[in-house]
Amino acid sequence: MSLPPFQLLLDSHGTTVHRFLVAAVGPADADDCFQEACIAALRAYPSLSHADNLRAWLMKIAQRKAIDAHRARARLPVPLAELPEVPSSDNGAVTSVDGLTTVWAHVRKLPEKQRMAVFLRSAADLPYADVARALDCSKDAARRNVHEGLKRLREEMAA
């Protein structure tokens, strides 16, 4: 078994990792999370025992960093500057200051497992098999979490 040069991983999957983080933690924290995820991955890389599906391995690390950031933020009071990102418009869609719909803000309120499953499936565009690897669960469980998450999202956005 030989691992590919780490630079190739960054070049091939950096965009997916970053897109996932922008959705999962928001643009303000995404860059810091990205940096932390890259460092953690590079640190652990030589001791990896297999070279298959390195993208899912990277996403697992990014996913943990996103959870850390989310928990850290939950302990802080909500900064005033972030309020305009989450106001509801009349039809219930969430609109950011620049007018773009940020359904992500709704996803961020889902329970942890569902939240991560939806982000990995939608923002990172991973197949269910990779969502499962990144979340360390079965493919069925990954599918169920996405399904439950979307269901809840539908209810909340209709409310």
Binding site: L3, Q35, C38, S122
Partner: protein, 202 residues
């Protein structure tokens, strides 16, 4: 598709196109600060074509002519040195400058340290012997074989020189045939001639 699916699709379409160059620079700096770059590489221009150069903290590992695909060079480094292989041009600035000066005919001796990890056995001895040939001088394959400790292993010496991972800096171009023939060269004979010409031999 439900409303939520449409919203998610739209939101996914609006996500960034990936990390910005500024972010990637910060990430690279962190890699260096944390001491996690085991192999740094860069591509540099030269009169002999674009070269890939790579180094560990111990010294220079590779100088590769453009005929060797970058992927091949990097994969070998990942397998034989460490998979923590990263593009980090700043780390290679000193050797880049030395190479520039050499190609301009202004540098007679590289002060860059060498990491011999990619060489082994008799090949390494041969290359270490070749590394001592002074600027502008040549030796024969037989002399190098002898210097490496085995006067009769002329062919093995040729093979060792032919697989030199650090041409130019380890001057295997200064090894020629008895009687004046050029012999062979990893990067092609035109390059061997060009290097000898820089050093004042035609």
């Amino acid at each position: 598709m439900s409303d939520v699916d449409v919203e998610l699709d739209r939101a996914a379409g609006g996500l960034s196109g990936g990390p910005s160059p500024a972010l990637m620079r910060r990430v690279s700096e962190r890699f260096e600060d944390e001491g996690l770059v085991d192999v740094a590489y860069a591509q540099v221009d030269s009169p002999l074509g674009p070269l890939t150069i790579a180094a560990s903290p111990r010294g220079l590992l590779v100088v590769a002519y453009p005929e060797r695909p970058l992927d091949t060079v990097l994969s070998r480094l990942a397998a034989e040195v460490s998979p923590r292989v990263l593009e980090a041009p700043a780390r290679l600035d000193p050797i880049r400058r030395e190479l520039e000066e050499y190609f301009e005919g202004k540098l007679r001796r590289f002060s860059t340290k060498i990491d011999w990890t990619l060489t082994r056995g008799f090949g390494r001895k041969v290359l270490r012997t070749a590394a001592k040939i002074p600027y502008g001088q040549v030796r024969t394959y037989g002399q190098v074989a002898e210097g490496a400790g085995s006067a009769r292993a002329v062919r093995a010496a040729g093979n060792g020189l032919g697989s030199n991972p650090m041409p130019v800096v380890v001057p295997c171009h200064r090894v020629v045939r008895t009687g004046g023939g050029l012999g062979g060269y990893t990067g092609g004979l035109e390059r061997k001639e060009a290097l000898l010409a820089i050093e004042g031999r035609t």
